[in-house]
């Protein structure tokens, strides 16, 4: 008996808003490899789903990834022709809507109707789950204008859909690594309690899930961490073997770099306890993980262990919280810093009754600082008397839109009422979302797939 061919999983998007020209070189490399291959798209950050739910309120057919067409159009026909399967969480708040759109897109491209599966069960915002959520979140849930409530599903339903012959799997909220674990489960037929293999595939998925962050994106620091071709980064491909170990690489003739350092940065990205990386599929343990460069732009990950998955699934509940108001104005030349600070003091006094005002001096102290101004008060940062180009930025939040709007008016009024020489005012007002998280027993979340006719 021969062992199954290694599964190649390419990632063409790491968040909603990622580059839409990333997929084509990945698909070319997957086809050239001649191996069983899957293309994944990860487009759901914590808050993306709530934004999608708000979009669906405006238009019942919307609510899936707004860039779905741009992401898929360049590669859909080639994937279907060459047997590269596609798995994405681009369904967001409306996976069925996304699936119907993909069906139409395939038709537009002259392709036979693909077998598309839709993953259901992540949406727990309905009446069926209210009591369970209320039990766990308590009175914090009452009187909140809830926008979305979604459980993080695992790989099982994705694997089931692929085993049933789906060429494309459209999910909403699933754990990011499960986009990779699902295809590996389906390909190798691992048991769902094969913890070590599941954990290894999970960490392969973890390396893939942010797209170019493992191939030199978000790594470059000129003179210290140089990355060739940052403007045309190749997105990652994981070659996953029958034991779940993987080699991370990228398509030929693309920019970027895959080395031990890019892989280590991404391996630890958004990890807390390295011995217990919790996903719906497994508890992954990278305490003894090893990262080795096996060839240029090829890095092997080994040493990952797994422990039994937990009995619960994480749920995020998003709700509307009000408004974030921001304003900016620039000061340049002599005493720019002092004039910007005076402008901040004026705004604090004028907006005292609206709420706490955050002030930043862009070019002096705007990133490491804190809301309470402790950084500013430290003698080392008390003044930048020689700063000649300072942009004041202020921000506040308020539940009431009319109150939040006052910030913009006060910043604009600095033109005639503020310190000398202020210019370049910009203001912005946007609705804000809050999140509550809790755990639901697995039995209360029914993950399943549906094959579209």
């Amino acid at each position: 008996m021969t062992s199954p061919q290694a599964l190649h999983v390419g990632c063409a998007a790491g968040f909603s808003g990622d580059r839409t020209d990333a997929a084509a070189p990945v698909v070319d490399a997957l086809i050239t490899s001649g191996q069983p291959a899957v293309l994944i798209f990860e487009t759901l950050a914590e808050r993306t789903l709530a934004l999608a739910q708000l979009a669906r309120r405006q238009d019942a057919a919307a609510g899936y990834e707004p860039l779905l067409d741009d992401l898929l159009r360049p590669v859909l026909a080639r994937c279907l022709q060459h047997g590269v399967r596609i798995v994405g969480n681009f369904g967001a708040a409306n996976p069925r809507g996304a699936a119907l759109r993909i069906q139409a897109l395939a038709r537009e491209l002259g392709q036979a109707a693909p077998r598309i599966a839709v993953i259901h069960g992540d949406d727990v915002s309905g009446a069926d789950h209210h009591a369970a959520l209320r039990d766990r979140l308590g009175p914090a849930l009452d009187a909140r204008p809830v926008v979305s409530a979604n459980a993080y599903l695992g790989a099982d339903a994705i694997a089931g859909a692929l085993r049933a012959g789906a060429q494309i799997v459209v999910a909403g909220r699933v754990a990011d690594p499960s986009l990779t674990v699902g295809p590996a489960l389906a390909h190798y037929g691992w048991a769902t309690d094969d913890w070590d293999r599941l954990a290894r595939a999970t960490m392969a998925g973890h390396l893939l899930e942010c797209g170019a962050q493992v191939t030199g994106g978000y790594y470059a620091d000129p003179g210290l961490k140089d990355v060739p071709g940052l403007a045309r980064l190749g997105y990652p491909i994981a070659e996953i073997d029958a034991d779940g170990h993987c080699i991370i690489g990228k398509p030929p003739a693309t920019g970027g770099v895959v080395n031990e350092h890019t892989v280590k940065e991404q391996l630890l990205y958004e990890v807390h306890d390295p011995s217990a990386y919790l996903t719906p599929d497994v508890v992954a343990d990278i305490s003894d993980a090893r990262v080795d460069e096996v060839a240029p732009d090829r890095v092997r990950l080994t040493g990952v262990r797994g422990h039994p998955r937990t009995d619960t699934l994480k749920v995020n509940v998003c709700f509307e919280t009000g408004w974030l108001a921001e304003g900016e104005i620039s000061y340049a030349g002599a005493r720019a810093d002092a004039r910007a600070r005076l402008a901040a003091a004026v705004l604090r006094e004028r907006l005292r009754d609206v709420g706490p005002l955050r002030a930043d001096l862009i070019g002096v102290a705007s990133v490491f600082a804190d809301d309470a101004g402790r950084w500013w008060q430290h003698p080392d940062h008390a003044g930048a008397a020689d700063a000649r180009d300072v942009r004041l930025r202020v921000a506040l939040r308020h539940a009431d839109r009319a109150q939040a709007e006052r910030l913009a008016r006060e910043v604009v009024a600095l033109y005639t009422c503020g310190p000398a020489g202020g210019g370049g005012v910009r203001t912005a007002l946007r609705p804000t979302l809050g999140t509550l998280s809790c755990l639901l027993p697995r039995a209360q979340v029914a993950a399943r797939f549906e094959l579209l006719d």
Binding site: H272, S287, F368
Partner: protein, 131 residues
């Protein structure tokens, strides 16, 4: 016996690199040694107390360091340092994406014998600890 002449003090970024991630109001920052022989220095000097001091203006409620010797790396977890996190913060960088660069400014004493393993411009001296 060694004298102070046998050591140089450099910012941590000459000995290590890192990346910040966020979940809610919690930040994690990886610190990855450029070379295995620099890793013990980092473990010895970049301890929880030094990290807590570097971030004291953000008032972390807890600082936890997880060591990964095979990777010559450690994972630093800072609780409640994001001014509320991406949903609630008023700051520009609500994810705290830039915070790895604050951590990498911590000073590190390096024996002269290991100085050739450092990366980046040699003339750079550390900025000292910041509040």
């Amino acid at each position: 016996m060694t004298s102070t002449m046998d050591f140089i003090t450099v910012p941590l970024w000459r000995a290590a690199h890192g990346r910040t991630g966020d979940k809610g109001n919690r930040s994690n920052i990886s610190v990855i040694a450029w070379n295995a022989r620099l890793y013990p220095l980092i473990v010895e000097q970049i301890h929880e107390a030094a990290i807590a001091r570097q971030f004291r203006h953000r008032q972390p409620t807890r600082v936890t360091r997880h060591l990964l010797p095979n990777l010559h790396a450690m994972n630093v977890v800072l609780d409640d340092v994001l001014d509320g996190g991406v949903n609630d913060a008023l700051n520009l960088d609500s994810h705290g994406k830039a915070l790895s660069f604050l951590l990498l400014e911590l000073p590190l004493r390096v024996p002269m014998a290991l100085a050739p393993l450092l990366r980046g411009p040699e003339s750079t001296t550390p900025e000292g600890d910041t509040p």
